[in-house]
Amino acid sequence: MSNVLNDMEREIEDLLPFYHNGRISAADRARVESALKTSAELRRRLDLIAEEAEIAIALNESVSGPSPRALDALMAKIEVEPKHAAHRLDAVKLGFMERLGGLIGALSPRKLAYAAALAMAVIAAQGVVITGIVPGGPGAPQYQTASAPAVSEGSFVLVSFAPEAKASAIAELLKSLNASITEGPRASGLYRLRIGDKALPKAEAERIIARLQAARDVVVLVAPDR
């Protein structure tokens, strides 16, 4: 029995490791199987490959994993990483309008980008100044306003605005309710509205929520917050 391969068999030999690991196209598999039927030498070489593969697998499996602390160390590094690409805008180099444009373009899904633009318009209509982008929850930047810094006093609701709602309609609704946006959009697209300077009686809060719910062209979702 000759252990010399002809050119065609030599070509098939190169495919044998991939035939053995199962990562081969159907056409090549058929070629290999056809050649194996007629070549004892190719069959012997496939056996050698199987022997090597078994040992390579054993060698790899003899490597135990990294220390259990590795994941904690990684997550600690991630915690101190700058926020994600969508958040990582160079506030120093970019002007406000470029920053705003980049921010809106980076938002995903598209609805959030729309919501962000809408929020800008509403906040501007409320007469507040956007001072910068601050790190927020996962996935979405948030806006800090000069006139409404982290408000904790009052009554709040969470709302989601209709994508097709006009900024002027939102501003008008908020004005009629004496409400203002204090936070958002969150990753979920929700905004936090302050509907009262202090904790409102339950009936009063429910009345305002009912009015928000009734404004279906502007608000698609309302939920109490605190």
């Binding site: 252990n3 030999e13 190169d14 495919l15 490791p17 991939f18 690991n21 199962g22 990562r23 081969i24 012997r44 070489r45 050698l48 490959i49 022997e51 090597e52 593969a53 078994e54 040992i55 390579a56 697998i57 054993a58 060698l59 790899n60 499996e61 490597v63 994993g65 990294p66 220390s67 590795a70 994941l71 160390a73 990684l74 997550m75 590094k77 991630i78 990483e81 926020k83 994600h84 690409a85 969508a86 958040h87 995903s108 929850g137 996962p138 996935g139 990753a187």
Partner: protein, 186 residues
């Protein structure tokens, strides 16, 4: 409950989802670590490289385009980290005037002792292969990658993958032969 695909996890990571990061790590860290450790032969270095790989996942998830599977993407990043560490180590060894013998074809006492056990001898000789040859054998035999995936991970043309694999196997056979084990190939 339907399990998130790796691609779903990467999309969530791109949005800053820490939990998705933990899940992806749980799925892939062992294989990636083994690949690194087999190349670097140094647990501390392999662990550092693993951390860098997943940190890059966190940083670059938004630019993952899905041209390859996530596991291929991870192995490609791991390979880059490993080779960068290997280069540093080689440079530092040369600086100290130490010639690092990556391959040693001489009759090895370890192999000699194992001649009675062919499997153990193949194992010992496999460990003596160069990192270039070890990596291609590991990728194909253990990580079960295709020609295209090896090409992507190692960044060489597909035909070179086949040639490199052939030479890795040939080198293994030669090492065995020089230690008295003839498998009748090549």
């Amino acid at each position: 409950m339907e399990r998130d695909s790796d691609e779903d996890l990467v999309r969530r990571i791109a949005k800053g989802d820490n939990l998705a990061m933990r899940v992806l790590y749980a799925r892939h860290h062992l294989r990636a670590f083994r690949f690194l450790q087999r190349l670097l032969k140094d647990e501390a270095l392999a662990e550092d490289a693993l951390s860098e790989v997943f940190l890059d996942v966190w940083r670059q998830a938004g630019s993952f385009e899905g041209r390859s599977s996530v596991s291929t993407w991870l192995l490609a990043m791991a390979r880059n980290k490993a080779w960068s560490a290997l280069r540093k180590r080689r440079e530092s060894a040369l600086d100290e005037g130490v010639a690092e013998a990556m391959e040693d074809e001489g009759d090895d006492p370890e192999v000699q002792l194992q001649k009675s056990d062919k499997g153990a001898a193949i194992r010992a000789c496999m460990e003596k292969l160069s990192p270039e040859h070890r990596e291609v054998l590991d990728l194909v035999y253990y990580h079960e990658t295709s020609v295209e995936e090896v090409a992507m991970i190692v960044q060489i043309p597909e035909n070179t993958v086949k040639t490199r694999l052939f030479h890795a196997r040939k080198k293994l056979a030669e090492l065995l032969k020089s230690n008295g084990i003839d498998r009748g190939w090549p």
